[in-house]
């Protein structure tokens, strides 16, 4: 079985968020970069399946120079090789554009399974894995919270639905799975793994290698802003009747829910 794991480098949750002058990107200073959380689960699931049923795990990312680190971290945990797609032209792409590039790079690899995190911690679109499946013409499943190996051509996955419902589905290979957090316990990178990582191949792919004249985009960020905190507590006092009158007035006229 041959798997690919798409991994994204995102700012750590505690990093200061400072919007750059262009209003559509973040200032890099002070940001600690890390692997997107659900991508870590995706990697672990791919590694577990490889350990149980053999094969190869390839990790792939699109990002700036610093993003090479997430590939290295994945290799240290046990992935076999990396594909690092980087080019200034690839900054600030939308999910569609990224999926198009991934499709171009991965199409000849003939992966049985493509894993990705459910969504990224920074842009939360939850789209890339799906659009990629469309580009590559593979089956796909989102919100995967469990997998069960059937044979060399099929896999059973448990999808998390709304309101505490789950559904088991069978998929034919090739398939693209987006992984929900909690599916497994991502492993700790051993020093031995970190040392072995240094010998593992990482292929770098740039715009030049891709023969793509134009990167398609279906969505554009117009402006980034930090949400204003508008928490306000109003105390209503008086007799029960007065409180009820004031409350219904507020619900009706201010909040407009009645």
């Amino acid at each position: 079985m041959k798997s690919c794991v798409l991994i994204k480098q995102v700012p750590d949750g505690d990093s200061p968020v400072v919007i750059a002058d262009d209003q559509v990107s973040l200032k890099g200073e002070g940001i600690t970069w890390t692997t997107n959380e659900t991508d870590g689960y995706a990697l672990e699931e791919a590694l577990l399946l490889k350990e149980a049923h053999g094969g190869e795990v390839v990790v792939c990312t699109i990002g700036k120079d610093s993003a090479l680190q997430v590939v290295k971290d994945a290799l240290a945990k046990g992935a076999d090789r990396g594909i690092f797609i980087t080019d200034p032209k690839f900054d600030n792409l939308d999910s569609f554009g990224k999926a198009a590039i991934f499709a171009q790079v991965l199409k000849d690899e003939n992966f049985d399974l493509i894993f990705s995190g459910l969504q990224s911690d920074n842009s939360s679109n939850a789209q890339t894995g799906l659009i990629l499946a469309e580009f590559l013409g593979t089956s796909h499943a989102t919100m995967v919270i469990g997998t069960e190996w059937i044979d060399e051509s099929r896999i059973k996955v448990n999808r998390e639905l709304e309101a505490g419902w789950f559904r088991w589905t069978e998929l034919d290979f090739p398939a693209s799975l987006t992984i929900q957090s909690g599916i497994n316990k991502p492993r700790y990178a051993s020093l031995r793994g970190i040392m072995l990582m240094k010998k593992k191949p990482i292929a770098t792919v740039t715009a030049e290698d891709l023969a793509m004249d134009e990167i398609p985009a279906l969505s554009h960020i117009k402006k980034l802003y930090v949400p204003r905190k508008t928490k306000e507590t109003v105390f209503i006092s008086g007799s029960p009747e007065e409180i009820v009158t004031q409350l219904t007035d507020k619900l009706e006229n201010e909040i407009k829910v009645l």
């Binding site: 750590d12 505690d14 200061p16 600690t32 890390t34 945990k77 316990k185 492993r187 700790y188 990178a189 051993s190 020093l191 031995r192 793994g193 970190i194 040392m195 072995l196 240094k198 010998k199």
Partner: protein
């Protein structure tokens, strides 16, 4: 002088030679330690080697422990009885043959005869005490396989019986000799002589040869078998204590992982990180295992064992030994050392408190051996305890094991209204106040941090903190076996520290203290590091700090492992408390104090994960405190404060028992400046 002409046919010498050859052949057990890796630490100078052998080998200083007074007396009688008899027999052997006779005392001098009998009696008394203990007292942790057990020929008690027969046989052989030859000093043999008068001379004459041979053969058999029995410790322990580097004893050996990472020659595919096979230990660590006498003192005092966790430091030692002998001497099947022989839970149960090492009579180092095997689990296998792996990852990304944002590291001070000087602005100060992660982020320890600031200001100390540039020292990471993370943190902190100009580092956390003081020098971080208990004690002694006496009622003190056992700081915190007592207040000792203190359960990285088995160490400890009737429990350790405060809450005793750091108690007696 009596003559033994007829008693020395040639075959006595042949048997003696065979016994000695077998004895020397089995010394290969000692040589098995050479299978280990080189140990640069185990190179004591000739003087220390000699002093060690004398102090801990011949005079057995560590055997004499207050907690083990019965076995101490037992061993004293046994060992010295044996030594004197060994000496006497050797002298007698030469004197009887007229070899070196001019230089040797004679057996038939009054003092030698009486000493000899005294020694025999000591030996028998010691043996009877030992047998009584094995058969009737039966201490819970003491291994008690009468005739077999853990590869020891004649088991735990069989060898004692053997020695008893040997000693009694000696008295009968002596009585026969005295009866038959009637030497002029016979009466001075105050046991052998009365014994000789029990039967007629004629009877002794018939028995003399048999008794002599019986004693001679049993003695030779003992010599031949000694290396195979538990008595091998008389040699192994002597060699082991002699080679011990007492300055570095119990300290973790650095791996210099970063150097290894940069080494282009390193064979990455086959590199071994940590220890998963006896051959991967240092040779001195193997010698430790060989020297273990299975006295079970380590296991008896182990807090993990006392709270029913699956750890016995003694078993760790005997398991390593069994693995070593199986591999090197072919004494059995060699199962995997880590996993099959020693389980992961055993290894993770250890809090590295060092109680085992403090009691060990043969100076074994259990904790470094355990951490070496943890290193294998983490560095080679990537398998830290599940909960702890989160803390390790957070330590790497945020610089503190809780995972609080790095930028909030000085929030404790601003929240308390203090404008604490930071080195990034001040550059130079007398004292670098190392706050520690607990002081920075844990609500209880933040109060300690604030107290320290108030103490510095009241005493006019020129100090500053590193603020957001401070990072975890790596104490927990290192003890969890994560040497790579430890080194990363150490190198980063050393680089930060070296940028600034200060005289002394003062820290309230004994874990930070131990790491900064004892572990950073290996990475070229050499600083004068002082624990806050010592610093405050010095300030008070110098008259720079005069807190009001605020301690009332019954106060007791909990010795932290990394302050007491690991760094021998016992007096300073007690001095501080003594200075703060009001009239009527008193400081009392807990039943387990000083080097016998009982771990709170947080050391060795166990702050960051729970072992499900057994009960909680902090509760065990607090029950002792509650029983003492103390109103205030003083601590001088960040982790102990958290653990013991938790335990008080678990026991629902918040109203009657206050847990506070000594710095808090001091600051309470200071005029409120601000904050």
């Amino acid at each position: 002088m009596h003559e033994f002409k007829y008693a020395y046919p040639a075959y006595f010498y042949l048997i003696a030679l065979a016994a000695l050859l077998y004895f020397f052949y089995n010394l290969r057990k000692l040589w098995a330690a050479s299978a280990g890796k080189p140990d640069p630490a185990a190179k004591p100078g000739p003087w220390q080697f000699f002093i060690n052998a004398l102090t801990f080998g011949i005079f057995q200083k560590r055997v004499f422990s207050r907690r083990f007074s019965y076995p101490a007396l037992m061993h004293l009688l046994l060992a010295w009885g044996f030594f004197i008899l060994f000496f006497a027999t050797t002298v007698d052997f030469f004197v009887a043959r007229g070899w070196f006779a001019a230089f040797l005392p004679r057996l038939d001098t009054p003092w030698f005869a009486s000493l000899n009998d005294a020694a025999g009696l000591m030996l028998i008394a010691g043996l009877l005490l030992a047998l009584f203990r094995r058969i009737f007292t039966r201490p819970e942790k003491l291994p008690n396989d009468f005739f077999t057990g853990r590869g020891n020929f004649l088991g735990d008690s069989g060898i004692i019986l053997f020695l008893l027969i040997l000693a009694l046989g000696g008295f009968f052989a002596e009585a026969a000799r005295l009866a038959v030859y009637q030497p002029p000093t016979a009466e001075y043999s105050w046991i052998g002589y009365p014994l000789s008068t029990l039967f007629s001379v004629a009877a002794w004459q018939r028995l003399e040869l048999v008794l002599w041979w019986f004693h001679a053969l049993s003695a030779l058999l003992f010599i031949a078998l000694l290396p195979l029995t538990k008595m091998f410790h008389v040699l192994a322990a002597l060699v082991n204590v002699a080679f011990t580097n007492r300055r570095l004893r119990g300290r973790l050996r650095p791996m210099f992982v970063s150097r290894l990472m940069e080494d282009p020659e390193a064979d990455l595919e086959n590199i071994s990180l940590g220890v998963s096979h006896s051959r991967e230990f240092r040779w001195k660590q193997l010698l430790d295992a060989i020297a273990c006498t299975e006295c079970a003192r380590c296991t008896t005092v182990c807090p993990a064992n006392a709270t029913d966790k699956p750890l016995s430091p003694m078993k760790i030692m005997t398991d390593i030994r069994q693995h070593l002998y199986a591999g090197e001497l072919g004494t059995g099947e060699q199962k995997d050392l880590v996993g099959a022989t020693i389980t992961e839970t055993e290894l993770w149960s250890c809090t590295t408190c060092g109680a085992c090492m403090a009691e060990c009579p043969v100076l074994n180092e259990h904790v470094p051996a355990i951490v070496d095997m943890r290193r294998y689990l983490v560095l080679s296998e990537g398998k830290p305890p599940e909960q702890a792996s989160e803390s390790l990852e957070k330590t790497l990304s945020t610089g503190n094991p809780w995972g609080f944002p790095k930028k909030d590291r000085l929030k404790w001070a601003t929240d308390a209204g203090f404008d604490v000087p930071v080195f990034s602005e001040k550059k130079k100060a007398d004292v670098l106040y190392w706050v520690g992660c607990a002081g920075a982020y844990d609500p209880l320890n933040q109060q300690v941090a604030v107290s320290m600031v108030r103490i510095f200001e009241a005493a006019g100390v020129d100090y500053a903190v590193l603020g957001t540039e401070e990072s975890c020292t790596g104490d927990s990471a290192r003890r969890l076996g994560e040497e790579y993370l430890f080194e990363t943190l150490a190198l980063q902190n050393i680089e930060t520290l070296n940028r600034y100009d200060f005289k002394t580092i003062v820290t309230p956390c004994p874990h930070c203290f131990n790491t900064l003081k004892n572990e950073y020098p290996a990475f070229e971080g050499n600083y004068e590091v002082v624990h806050h208990s010592e610093f405050i004690s010095q300030l008070i002694a110098a008259g720079k700090l005069s807190p009001d006496k605020s301690l009332e009622g019954k106060v007791t003190y909990h010795d932290a492992c990394y302050l007491g056992r690991h760094n021998q700081i016992y007096a300073a915190p007690r001095e501080v408390l003594g200075n703060l007592l009001t009239t009527g207040g008193e400081v009392t000792e807990l039943s387990r104090h000083h080097a016998n203190s009982f771990c709170c359960g947080a050391g060795g990285g166990n702050m960051w994960h729970d072992i499900e088995a057994g009960s909680r160490m902090n509760v065990n400890r607090i029950e002792e405190v509650i029983q003492s009737g103390a109103d205030t429990l003083a601590t001088a350790c960040s982790f102990c404060l958290i653990m013991l405060d938790d335990a008080v809450k678990i026991k629902g005793q918040e109203e009657s028992l206050k847990v506070r750091d000594i710095a808090q108690v001091v600051a309470e007696g200071l005029p409120v400046s601000k904050g």
